[in-house]
C-alpha cells in the first residue's frame, strides 16, 4: 500500500504547495504528478524565501518532460509568488510503479 509521500521540512507549506500540484497532470497517463509519485521532496527556506522541489519523471526520456517540469514550476510560482522557485530533476532513485499512491492506483483501475 502506498500513500502520497513527499518529504518536507515544512508540512504546512508543503500541503499548500500540493493543492496546486494536484492540478498538474502527466498528459499521457492523465494522473496528477503527486499521485503519480513524481514529487520526491519539497523544502522551504524561510530566510532566503526559496522553495526547492526535488522531482522525477517516469523516464528520463519522457517526451512530456519539459511540459511537466514547466507546469510544476508554474504551479509553485503561483502558490508562492514572492519566493524563488528551484525545481531539481533527479533520476536517483528512478521512478517505478511502487511510487504511485493508492488514489493513483484506483484511478488507473487497480
Amino acid at each position: 500500500m502506498s500513500v502520497v509521500c513527499v518529504m518536507t521540512n515544512d508540512s504546512d507549506r508543503c500541503d499548500f504547495a500540493l493543492v496546486g500540484l494536484y492540478e498538474v497532470y502527466d498528459p499521457e497517463v492523465g494522473l496528477n504528478v503527486v499521485d503519480l509519485g513524481l514529487i520526491y521532496q519539497l523544502d522551504f527556506d524561510e530566510d532566503a524565501k526559496k522553495v526547492h522541489c526535488l522531482m522525477t519523471l517516469t523516464t528520463q526520456f519522457c517526451p512530456m518532460g519539459d511540459q511537466i517540469t514547466g507546469d510544476v514550476t508554474a504551479s509553485l510560482t503561483e502558490a508562492f509568488p514572492d519566493w524563488q522557485i528551484a525545481v531539481e530533476l533527479t533520476f536517483e532513485p528512478a521512478w517505478d510503479y511502487t511510487k504511485i499512491s493508492d488514489v493513483g492506483r484506483e484511478f488507473l483501475g487497480q
Binding site: Q60, P63, M64, T69, Q84, V87, Y97, R105, L108
Partner: protein, 425 residues
C-alpha cells in the same frame, strides 16, 4: 527575486520538424498502396515476381512501413538509446533521398524500367546509409548502450543490407554482378528486410514502449537478449542455407529459431499486460497487441508451405506470406503506434510553451476516436477477407477486401491530418 531555477538532466526530444514529414509521407503512401491494390486485384492469380506485385510490395515496405518507422525511430531514438539524436540535418537528408528515391523505384517496378530502378535504388541507399550513420553516431555518443540500443543499431544495419542487396539485384538485371539471376536472391533480399529490419525494430521498440504505455512492472532483459540472438541467428542461417542451395528440410532450422523468438516476444508482451498498473487498455494499445499476435500468421503460412505443399504451389502461399507481413503485423503496429506517438509530437509542438496557460486537451483528443475505431474494424475485415481471396484465388473477393482496406487507409490519413494540422486556440 530572480526567476525560477531548473536543474537536472532532462533529455531533449527530437525536433518535430524531423519527424512529421516521414509520417505525412507514410500515411499518403498507405492510401496509394491500397489504390494500387484495388486496381491490381488480379495479382491473386499471379506469381509474386510480377511487376505490379513488386511495385505494391515496395510501396508497402518502403513508402509506408519504412518511412513511418524511420519517422518514429527518429522520435523514439532518445528513449531507446538513452541519448539524443546526433544530427537533425542528416535526418532531413535521409528524408530527402528516400522520399525522392522510393517513388522512382516504385514506378521503375511498375513499368519494369531498369534505369528508373537503378536511380531509385541508389537514392534510397543514400538515404538509408545516412540514417545508419545517424543511428550509430547517436548511439555511440550515449553513455549507456542497453539491449534496446542494440536492437536499434542492428536493425539499421540490416536495413542498409536490405537496400544495398536490393541495389545489387537491380544492377544485376543489366550487368552480371551475381552468380545467379536476381530472382534467385529475392527471398534473401525480402528476409533481410522482413526479419532484419522490421522484426528487429518492432521487437526492440515494442518491448520498450508497450510495457511503458501499460505502466507494467514486468521487465526481463535476459529474455530480450535471447530474442535478439534467436532472430539474428535465424536470419543469418537462412541466408547461408539459401546461398548453399540446401534441401527443404534445412529451412526448418531458421524457421524454428524465428518462431521461438516471436513466441518469446508474444510471451513478453502477455506478461507485461498481465501485471500492468494501468488496467484500461485503449484502442491503440489493443491494435498493437493484435499486431503482436499477427506476427505468428506468416510463420504459420511458411510452415504449411514446407510441410504440405508441393514446390509449384508455394508461389500462392508466398503471396499470403507477404500479405500477412506487410498488410498484417507491420501495418497493424503502425496503425496503433501512430496514435500513441504522433499526438504527443503535435501536442508538444502546440502546447510546449503554454504551461498552465489554460485548459489544454489531452494528446488523445487530437484525433477522432470514432474514426479510429471504424478504421480498425475495416482494416481487420479487409485483412481477413483478402487472405481468403488469396487462398481461393478470387479477384472479386480481393476487390471487396481492398475497398475495406482503402476506406481504412482514408480514415487513417484523415486522423493523421487532423492531428498534424491541429492548432492550439
Amino acid at each position: 527575486m530572480s526567476g525560477p531555477i531548473f536543474s537536472g538532466n532532462l533529455q531533449q526530444t527530437t525536433n518535430y520538424r524531423v519527424v512529421l514529414p516521414f509520417y505525412i509521407y507514410g500515411a499518403v503512401s498507405f492510401l496509394i498502396a491500397c489504390v494500387l491494390l484495388l486496381f491490381n486485384t488480379d495479382l491473386v492469380h499471379l506469381h509474386y515476381y510480377s511487376p505490379h506485385t513488386l511495385a505494391i510490395v515496395h510501396t508497402m515496405a518502403l513508402a509506408w512501413g519504412t518511412m513511418i518507422i524511420l519517422g518514429a525511430s527518429h522520435q523514439l531514438l532518445p528513449v531507446l538509446i538513452e541519448g539524443k539524436l546526433d544530427n537533425d540535418n542528416i535526418a532531413y537528408a535521409t528524408f530527402a533521398f528516400t522520399a525522392i528515391g522510393i517513388p522512382v523505384l516504385i514506378v521503375g517496378f511498375f513499368n519494369f524500367n531498369y534505369n528508373l530502378l537503378e536511380i531509385g535504388a541508389t537514392l534510397v541507399n543514400a538515404g538509408v546509409l545516412l540514417y545508419l550513420i545517424n543511428v550509430f553516431r547517436s548511439s555511440f555518443k550515449s553513455n549507456t548502450r542497453g539491449v534496446h540500443a542494440w536492437y536499434m543499431m542492428t536493425a539499421s544495419i540490416w536495413l542498409f543490407s536490405t537496400t544495398f542487396f536490393g541495389l545489387l539485384l537491380v544492377f544485376n538485371f543489366s550487368y552480371p554482378l551475381l552468380p545467379e539471376g536476381s530472382v534467385h536472391y529475392l527471398s534473401i533480399h525480402a528476409h533481410l528486410g522482413i526479419i532484419g529490419w522490421f522484426l528487429m525494430l518492432v521487437i526492440g521498440v515494442g518491448t520498450r514502449l508497450i510495457p511503458m504505455f501499460f505502466i507494467s512492472k514486468y521487465t526481463n532483459e535476459k529474455v530480450l537478449w535471447v530474442i535478439y540472438w534467436l532472430i539474428n541467428s535465424s536470419l543469418i542461417s537462412f541466408i547461408l542455407i539459401r546461398l548453399l542451395n540446401s534441401d527443404t528440410i534445412a529451412y526448418y532450422f531458421p524457421l524454428i529459431l524465428a518462431l521461438s523468438g516471436v513466441v518469446l516476444f508474444v510471451r513478453h508482451i502477455i506478461k507485461a499486460h498481465a501485471v500492468r498498473i494501468r488496467r484500461k487498455v485503449d484502442e491503440q494499445m489493443k491494435t498493437s497487441i493484435i499486431s503482436v499476435f499477427q506476427m505468428l500468421l506468416p510463420i504459420v503460412a511458411l510452415l504449411i508451405a514446407l510441410l504440405f505443399l508441393p514446390i509449384d504451389r508455394n508461389a500462392n502461399l508466398g503471396l499470403i506470406y507477404g500479405f500477412c507481413v506487410f498488410f498484417g503485423w507491420i501495418t497493424a503496429i503502425i496503425l496503433g503506434m501512430t496514435f500513441k506517438t504522433l499526438p504527443f509530437i503535435v501536442w508538444n509542438r502546440e502546447y510546449h510553451k503554454k504551461a498552465r496557460s489554460g485548459k489544454t486537451p489531452a494528446p488523445k483528443e487530437l484525433f477522432n476516436e470514432k474514426a479510429y475505431n471504424t478504421m480498425l474494424i475495416l482494416y481487420l475485415a479487409g485483412f481477413v477477407t483478402f487472405i481468403v481471396a488469396l487462398s481461393i484465388k478470387n479477384s472479386l473477393t480481393a476487390q471487396i477486401a481492398t475497398v475495406a482496406l482503402l476506406i481504412a487507409a482514408c480514415l487513417y490519413v484523415y486522423n493523421v491530418g487532423l492531428t498534424i494540422f491541429h492548432k492550439a486556440n
